[in-house]
């Protein structure tokens, strides 16, 4: 109950602060707010934009949530998203299912590199996954400037893929993954073990849980979902790869997961909120000439508010 309240409070704080920040740009907060709302849910065009943005956010959010639930600080959804997109592009000629599967496998494999480093050298995931993001980013940069560059060789991007995924297809996949995540975490024994590992690996170990297996599996699932997000984004939205393909979806997934209190169903609401925020911010840029990066500002406010609330709770202040 308190967690839901904390999430709602953080979301409201983000919107209010965004509106107030309009003063700094010489706009009335009320006007700014109405642009944000109409630009995200005010028309079917805006609504479509919000849905399309929410889907990758939902998947990267779930990816982060599952890893964090197992106590693994996977900050690498961005890199996993990229290699997912790459694998999907390469496997596109084998059909829709195969290419999406390829994106999941690539994302999982990319994430498991961090787990291997953990088991081999006790390297913390929070570092290795961030570093793997850079590797992934430059791998993509190399690919679109070299071996995978479009036939015309004009821009640093690939040719368009031959297959595509409809928005309704995207929605079905993302919602299924969301419900499956909830089922795994809260309705299966393995989910119980995964959460136990995240809460207290010592006690989990004494209770007979194979902690390392849980960590590796959570990482594989987490990476798989972020990779799938990349695949879906490629087939459903961008149709081609380019350097800024990931567009920060992986990092935004952290904010999405935290606002969703690491619960899959709440993460769905959180993803839609951030999707709307991002879409609304785009409209803000067009209409009021305020940079769309205010959406990033909104994410930061959400995270900071949540941190503030959680540390209050830990100090025993109601």
């Amino acid at each position: 109950m308190r967690q839901i309240a904390a999430g709602a409070l953080a979301a409201i704080a983000a919107v209010v602060l965004l509106a107030l920040s309009g003063i700094a740009f010489g706009h009335a907060p009320g006007e700014l707010l109405s642009t944000l709302i109409s630009g995200s849910i005010g028309s079917s065009f805006a609504l479509h934009g919000t849905i399309v943005k929410s889907i990758p956010l939902l998947l990267t959010g779930l990816s982060v949530a599952i890893a964090f639930r197992a106590g693994v600080w996977n900050i690498g959804a961005e890199g996993q998203f990229i290699v997912g997109g790459l694998a999907c592009f390469l496997a596109a000629r084998f059909g829709l299912i195969s290419s999406l599967l390829a994106s999941m496998i690539a994302g999982a494999a990319w994430a498991l590199i961090a787990s291997l480093l953990r088991f081999w050298r006790n390297a913390p995931e929070v570092l290795t996954t961030i570093l793997l993001n850079f590797v992934g980013f430059h791998l993509l940069g190399y690919s679109v400037n070299g071996p995978l560059q479009e036939a015309r060789a004009q821009y640093p991007q690939t040719d368009a893929v031959a297959i595509s995924l409809s928005t309704s297809g995207e929605v079905v996949i993302a919602l299924s993954i969301c419900i499956a995540s909830w089922f795994l975490l809260y309705r299966t024994k393995e989910g119980l073990r995964l959460r136990a590992t995240g809460f207290n690996p010592f006690a989990a170990r004494w209770a007979g849980v194979h902690v390392n297996a849980q960590i590796a599996r959570a990482m594989a699932i987490s990476g798989g979902m972020a990779g799938l997000a990349g695949g879906i984004e490629l087939l459903g939205v961008t149709h081609r790869l380019f350097e800024r393909f990931a567009a920060g979806y992986g990092y935004s997934g952290i904010a999405v997961a935290l606002l969703g209190q690491l619960h899959p169903l709440a993460t769905l609401l959180s993803a839609v909120f951030f999707g709307a925020l991002t879409t609304g911010a785009g409209e803000l840029q067009r209409a009021s000439n305020i940079s769309a990066s205010v959406a990033t500002f909104g994410q930061a406010v959400v995270i900071l508010t949540l941190i503030g609330l959680s540390s209050r709770a830990k100090r025993g202040i109601p």
Partner: protein, 413 residues
């Protein structure tokens, strides 16, 4: 007419002090004072409220009611060491402004010290500033008899110079040997002052229904658990005793990692870290290990909780221990490895845990009991090993252990 105002500085005076933690009354309307030059022995079972009372005196905890007057400085040697492991002895002492003259080589890291040496550093910290009142909380539980003697000499020395000492312990004989006055705490109250060992003991445990261990005759039992010279037969309870830090934790961990989990129950020593998952509900904690119904287990093991959905972290220590016990024993395991299963529990919970272990043995389980509570070992065990610096002694009968355990624990062969 004139009035006399007392000018004798009383180091500490408590009046009607009460402190509750949730529904548990830890300290219940206690009035207590200590005079200069006095060594006050405070005895009581685990969970009687001794440590809480001392932490109130030291100002670490606010009481709910009552007044505290402290007429001087207090030195507090905690039951658990409060040292910086990565610092040297000298650095640890420098933190509180103490000198290191008493130590041969004060450049050693605290991490590398034996528990006895750590206790000595802790004591030096406490007496560095010549406190008017020195509180020693269960100081001897990790000490060899020799080290304990040194500690008591220091306490007597302080008292002879007009300082006051409070010694907390549950070892009656030890307290009687040094204290000038003895009070007994039970369930948060002071229930007795003065008297001989027999009377003190009775006040300490209250009306205890003593369950005598059933006489069991062993005939070449089949061995269930075997580690080098350690073997535990079907239906047998074998205890491993020793001064803390001599390899007990390593033994338990090794057994955890080698014995088949399906047939082995583990009761870990550190229940808050290793026993329960505080963030999860009772039901979830149970489901990690057993398919048994949470409601039934709560009833059978008398866990005081609002229901299966209560967070395990909100249970009291004793109820957390019952939760671990219930979870592990519900599967009717063939082997039970129980480390300090009653540490910090009140008398009733302790009796309950003992009863459960005996019942499990009667059902044919092989039980290895790793404990620093000698009474527990002697009450329950059919055979006793002493562990010292990672090595187990040969198996002793309780009678043999009664005469030899002290020496073996101190490493004297």
């Amino acid at each position: 007419m004139f009035s006399v105002t007392s000018v004798v500085k009383i180091p500490m005076q408590l009046t009607n002090v009460t402190k509750s933690f949730g529904p548990t009354i830890a300290v219940d309307d206690v009035s207590l004072s200590v005079a200069p030059g006095e060594i006050l022995g405070l005895i009581g079972e685990n969970g009687a409220g001794k440590t809480t009372l001392m932490r109130i005196i030291a100002g670490e905890i606010e009481p709910d009611r009552g007044t505290i007057e402290v007429g001087g400085t207090i030195g507090f040697v905690h039951q658990h060491f409060m040292l910086v492991n990565e610092f040297t002895i000298a650095e640890n002492l420098a933190l509180v402004g103490a000198g290191d003259a008493r130590f041969e080589n004060s450049n050693r890291l605290v991490r590398d010290l034996s528990v006895g040496e750590k206790a000595a550093v802790e004591l030096m910290k406490a007496i560095a500033k010549e406190p008017d009142l020195l509180i020693l909380d269960e100081p001897t539980s990790v000490l060899t008899p020799n080290e304990a003697q040194k500690l008591f000499d220091t306490a007597r020395d302080l008292a002879s110079r007009g300082k006051s000492v409070i010694l907390i312990s549950h070892k009656i004989r030890e307290v009687l040997s040094i204290a000038t006055r003895t009070v007994v705490m039970r369930r948060g109250r002071i229930v007795r002052e003065g008297g001989g060992a027999e009377q003190l003991a009775r006040a300490m445990v209250g009306e205890r229904t003593h369950v005598a261990p059933p006489l069991r005759r062993r005939t070449a039992a089949e061995s269930r658990l075997y580690v080098r010279n350690l073997s535990v037969g079907t239906g047998e309870i074998v205890a491993v005793i020793g001064v803390a830090g001599n390899g007990q934790a390593e033994l338990a961990t090794m057994l955890r990692d080698t014995l088949p989990r399906e047939t082995t129950a583990h009761i870990p020593e550190d229940r808050t870290r290793d026993g329960v998952i505080a963030e999860m509900s009772i039901a979830e904690n149970l489901a990690l290990v057993t398919n048994a119904s949470a409601e039934e287990l709560i009833a059978t093991f008398g866990i005081r909780a609002t229901g299966p959905r209560q967070r395990a972290g909100n249970l009291s220590g004793g109820n957390q221990q019952k939760l671990v016990l219930g979870r592990e024993l519900a599967r009717n395991p063939a082997i039970i490895v129980a480390a300090e299963p009653t540490r910090g529990l009140d008398i009733e919970s302790t009796a309950f845990v003992h009863e459960q272990l005996r019942a499990a043995a009667a059902r044919g389980a092989a039980i290895l009991l790793i404990t620093s509570d000698l009474d527990e070992a002697f009450t329950l065990a059919d055979g006793i090993h002493v562990i010292f610096r990672g090595t187990l002694s040969e198996r002793l009968t309780p009678a043999e252990a009664g005469t030899r355990a002290g020496q073996l624990m101190a490493g004297v062969r």
